[in-house]
Structures are given as structure tokens and as C-alpha cells.
């Protein structure tokens, strides 16, 4: 039962304004991808066939595990369990590293096939949008690790939750973007 019924944004308003801008920006790329595909479906199907959908699915599962860990870390912080918060955030950071490792392997295969940003519009969108998302994963890992370290030092806790919550919200944003990228690029036909 909730003792406090106030409805609040996890992490505060500023991180959510950032989330709104990021989601709108990526949405433009998603719509651009779908519109470009509509004008040349055969080109996009040929590009899609060169990707490994299984890698995309595995990376989705990896990010979802990271999302669960980050959310669990937020709960642990609220119940004043700093070591658990730290462990959860380190776990989430590790899922980010696994994601990037798999993505780098995929990129190496694409580049080995002589593909670049200028090959065609499918590969431009694939490399540009997934590359931009990759940088967000990197940034997320860069936020999670120091937050975990500070959490372990007892810096946060239930009376000072905003940093932990904001970092978790950023990490979920990374997840949310990928949730659309995966079917859009790898699956939808």
C-alpha cells in the first residue's frame, strides 16, 4: 500500500525533458527510415537480409536484462540498500558492454563487406541510427559505473534518490529506443 499518493516523475523533470527531446529526435530517424523504405522496398529488404536478426534479438534481451537491473537498483536505493544498488548498476553496465561487443562484431562484418554510410540509404540509416544509439549505450555505461561507485559509498539512499533515478531513466531510454530499432531494422517486412 502506498503511504504517499503524490504522483512524481522518477528522477525529476529535467531528465524527462531530455527524454522527450531524445525520443522525438530518434522518432524523426525512425519515420525517415520507414519513408525511405517505402520508396525503395527492394533495396531495404536486400539490406535487411544481410543482417543477423538473431544478434538483434540477443542484444534486445541483453538490454532488457540491463533495464531490469537498473530498475531493481532504484528500488534497492529506496529501501536503503546501497550495496545492492551498486551491484545492480554494475550489472546493468556489464549488459551495456555486452551489447556494444555484439554490435561491434556486427559492424566489423558490415565493414568487411565493403559497406559504408554512402553505400545506399538502407546502410546510411543502419550505420547512422544504430551508431547514434551505440553512443547512447556508451554514455549510459559511463553514467552507471560512477553512480554505482557513489552508491556503494552511501552517497544516495531514500532521502537523496534523484541521481540514481535519473541515471536509471537514461538507461531505460536507451532500451526504449532499441525496442523500436530492433523490429524496424531487423524484422519488419
Amino acid at each position: 500500500m502506498h503511504l504517499d499518493v503524490r504522483r512524481e516523475l522518477s528522477g525529476g523533470t529535467v531528465i524527462w525533458l531530455f527524454v522527450a527531446v531524445e525520443l522525438l529526435t530518434f522518432s524523426l530517424f525512425f519515420v525517415g527510415f520507414a519513408a525511405a523504405r517505402r520508396s525503395d522496398p527492394a533495396l531495404f529488404l536486400a539490406g535487411q537480409d544481410q543482417l543477423h536478426a538473431l544478434f538483434g534479438a540477443i542484444n534486445t534481451a541483453v538490454l532488457l536484462c540491463g533495464g531490469w537491473l537498473a530498475a531493481r537498483g532504484v528500488l534497492a536505493n529506496r529501501s536503503n540498500e546501497p550495496k545492492t544498488t551498486a551491484r545492480c548498476f554494475i550489472g546493468a553496465a556489464i549488459t551495456g558492454l555486452i551489447f556494444m561487443g555484439i554490435k561491434l562484431y556486427e559492424y566489423s562484418e558490415v565493414f568487411a563487406a565493403g559497406i559504408s554510410l554512402s553505400t545506399n540509404s538502407f546502410w546510411f540509416f543502419y550505420l547512422f541510427v544504430t551508431g547514434l544509439h551505440f553512443l547512447h549505450v556508451l554514455a549510459g555505461v559511463g553514467f552507471l559505473i560512477p553512480t554505482a561507485w557513489h552508491a556503494a559509498q552511501g552517497t544516495y539512499g531514500p532521502d537523496n534518490p534523484s541521481t540514481v533515478e535519473a541515471v536509471a531513466v537514461f538507461w531505460h531510454l536507451v532500451d526504449l529506443i532499441w525496442i523500436f530499432l530492433f523490429p524496424l531494422i531487423y524484422l519488419a517486412r
Partner: protein, 90 residues
């Protein structure tokens, strides 16, 4: 502030949400795989599943279920409009 029992309840909800998200991911991968083999279109189904997953992430992981109603409504509307637009373009 929440009670200890609610903390445990929330942890169970997170676990249930995570398991559902994994099942939906496996489901969309399987549907796409079957559709690729059959040569049929899968965009509406896999993007619809993505919208459902996005609602779960936003609602449970990002705690929009406990956010001010205007923010929660804006997020939900945004996800529905984006998905509808993408499906229409496919």
C-alpha cells in the same frame, strides 16, 4: 515513500515485466522468422509488439505508472502515434 511490503511487491512487478518483455522479444523474433520463410508482411505485428514492450518499459521500469497523469498520457499517446505512423509507412 513506500512500505516494505510494497517494495517487495514492486520487485515482483519488475520481475514479471522483465519476463514478459523477454517473451515478447522471443515472440516477435519467431513471428518475423516464420513470416520471412512464408514471404508475408510482418511489420504491423512486430511493430505492434514493440509498442506494447515500450509501454511496459515506460510504465513499469521508468515508473510512468506513478508519474503525473499528463506525462503518462503524453508518453502513451506518443508511442501509439509513432507506431501507427511507422506501420502506415510500411
Amino acid at each position: 515513500m513506500t512500505t516494505q511490503s510494497n517494495q517487495r511487491g514492486d520487485a515482483r512487478l519488475l520481475l514479471l515485466c522483465w519476463a514478459t518483455l523477454l517473451a515478447l522479444t522471443a515472440g516477435s523474433f519467431w513471428i518475423a522468422d516464420v513470416d520471412i520463410a512464408a514471404g508475408t508482411a510482418s511489420a504491423g505485428v512486430v511493430l505492434g509488439i514493440a509498442a506494447l514492450k515500450a509501454h511496459l518499459i515506460a510504465g513499469v521500469f521508468m515508473e510512468m505508472l506513478h508519474a503525473p497523469r499528463a506525462w503518462a498520457a503524453a508518453m502513451s499517446t506518443f508511442l501509439v502515434v509513432l507506431t501507427g505512423l511507422l506501420i502506415a509507412l510500411f
